[in-house]
């Protein structure tokens, strides 16, 4: 008796904007000129933030910092598709997602400067705190989605994580539940090729990360993560599907971490300058600039103006952060729990 093939799956890869700035018009999402400008400006803002954060860290004005350079399209493109009522469950390398949603930049600086007050999300946003423990936040997105479904709220939930996170138990347990209950959740992996020194080939024997979703009963797609239009399109479709009861989607954004893992890392120990150089040509910002130029949306003056505005915005945020009075020892207790126990209350007085 022959063996029957009972299922096969095809993993799709979406790309729209190529390295020379040419788009596939048939695939182009519905974006206005002002959307495109806004995406560009956010990406420049994110890169400017990154550069400043690295400089501040070197001057001892910021703590350990994980750069996002190279990942701006994956972050801005996906966050651009979110509604203000949607929920975001971030990992620790999504600063541009925060900025796209309007998270105050000085708070982000405060957090990376070692001050928890920077983690207080403004009341109009639904963003959980940055999660430093890799991948352990994935089930939280699943739970938020379960609650939204239970309440019949038409919101979608997004969990962001890296390629390394796909090796964690929580990734698999979370995916399994999301598929099982057909939850309104979108999982966005920024596959930046490296989890510190371990390349993605050292993380999994799967040809793609996207395909892992199929094992849990929902669709996984790969997108060119340096192509802001592809990311935006994939995210918009997945979010619409989630909000309309179609269940979860996994989006693997193929991108690259251009800088060190963090300011405590030295990436030259484990990856070649040639590899880094080969990704420089795929820079998501350069690519969008080329496209905008071809559409008459770019001029030297505009580009200069965008950079200047980004620099001014970051300057202002640095000033705001550095003007904040330092936290006091009592702050450690004020958010420990709703009501302090006797011992905690005594300790608060002593310190």
């Amino acid at each position: 008796m022959p063996e029957d093939i009972i299922s096969t799956y095809a993993v799709k890869r979406l790309h729209i904007l190529d390295e020379s700035g040419i788009v596939d018009d048939a695939l182009m999402p519905a974006v206005t000129e002002s959307d495109i400008r806004r995406m560009y400006e956010l990406m420049v803002l994110a890169r400017t933030f990154d550069e400043r954060a690295l400089a501040l860290q070197r001057e001892g004005r910021l703590g350990t910092y994980p750069p996002i350079m190279g990942q701006e399209a994956a972050q801005v493109g996906s966050a651009f598709a979110l509604h203000p009522t949607d929920w975001v469950i971030p990992s620790f390398r999504e600063m541009a997602v925060h900025f796209t949603l309007g998270y105050p930049i000085h708070l982000m600086l405060q957090y990376w400067g070692g001050d928890e007050r920077g983690q207080r999300t403004p009341d109009n946003l639904n963003i959980l705190p940055i999660c430093v423990s890799v991948g352990t936040h994935i089930p939280h997105a699943v739970g938020v989605a379960m609650a939204a479904k239970y309440r019949r709220d038409p919101v979608a939930v997004v969990a962001y994580f890296g390629d390394g996170a796909t090796s964690k138990g929580e990734f698999h347990e979370g995916f399994n539940m999301a598929g099982l209950f057909r939850l309104p959740v979108v999982f966005i992996c920024q596959n930046n090729q490296w989890a510190i020194s371990i390349p993605v080939q050292g993380q999994t024997a799967s040809a793609t990360l996207a395909q892992k979703a199929f094992a849990y009963g929902f669709e996984g797609v790969q997108v060119d993560g340096n192509d802001v239009f592809a990311v935006y399109r994939a995210a918009s479709e997945a979010l619409d599907k989630a909000r309309s009861g179609g269940g979860p989607t996994f989006i693997e954004c193929l991108t690259y971490r251009m800088a060190d893992h963090t300011t405590s890392d030295d990436a030259s120990r484990y990856r070649s300058p040639e590899e880094v150089a080969s990704w420089r040509g795929k820079d998501p910002i350069l690519r969008l600039e080329r496209f905008m130029a071809s559409r008459g949306l770019m001029s030297d003056e505009y580009a200069r103006d965008v950079k200047q505005r980004a620099a001014d915005t970051i300057d202002e945020a640095v000033r705001a952060e550095e003007a904040a009075p330092p936290p006091t020892a009592a702050d450690m207790f004020d958010h420990a729990c709703a009501t302090l126990g006797q011992r905690q209350a005594a300790q608060r007085k002593e310190l």
Partner: protein, 320 residues
Amino acid sequence: MPLLNMVQAINLALNEEMERDDRVVLLGEDVGRDGGVFRITEGLLERFGSERLIDTPLSESAIVGAAIGMAVYGLRPIAEIQFMGFLYAAFDQLFTHAARLRSRSRSRYTCPLVVRTPYGGGIKAPEMHEESTEAFFCHMPGVKVVVPSGPYTAKGLLTAAIRDPDPVLFLEPTRLYRLIREEVPAGDYIVPLGRAQVVREGDDVTLIAWGSMLEWVLKAVGEYSAEVIDLLTLNPFDAETVLASVRKTGRVVIVHEAVKSCGFGAEIAATIAEEAILHLRGPILRVTAPDVTVPLAKLLDHYLPSAERIRAALDEVLQY
């Protein structure tokens, strides 16, 4: 004898033990090509190859779980977890399996593995990177919990841990990695597990500490006639050395960087109360972190015990 820091001392112990015994294998995130995020395993990949120095996926539970399987099969695995804050993911493996394998199988199977992890605060790192939750792990009969306090004890204790027939959790005080240099002999010496050291003799009060707190304690004691005990192994802890000192001095201050409630200091205090209460001339005092989550860098100095707080406790108990 060479002066080594703790990173070099641990690296030397790993080199020597891997050389001595080909059953010793090391596994963890970034331990191979990168030499570990603290460079503890630097050079080992080149020397021993990728079969013995395994760069794993980002899977703490699988790292410890696989180490259990390797140990059962007769190897001597050393699992590195990048920071203590990420060991919680492997808690189930440690508690449910490593700690109980011997008893569940009536010693048919044993679990001679070492889990190494940087621990403790004072390095101003991000969240989850400054944890000091040793007490959780001391509540696991079957797993030894060891904390060196300098390069010499680090090498000797790690060597003993690797040769121990049961699972050992080896907690490396991150703040000390490059802070202190000591003479560390090459070649065979061990610092036995389960034994504390009296690092300074004194008559008036016994100070008990471990890991990176020892350094603070030694700075704080100055002119006091304080006997300082470095516990080295927390589980099983050396009650005899502690009790002998308490019977001599009659006063006790315990210093740890973990939070106060249910910290390991409570176990020591309870043991002293049970065994030597009539020798006490004052209350047993603890200098600890407050009962709050480890804060980020800006408040860390308020959180960790300081020499000042240690001296205040000494004064309090001496004037009691």
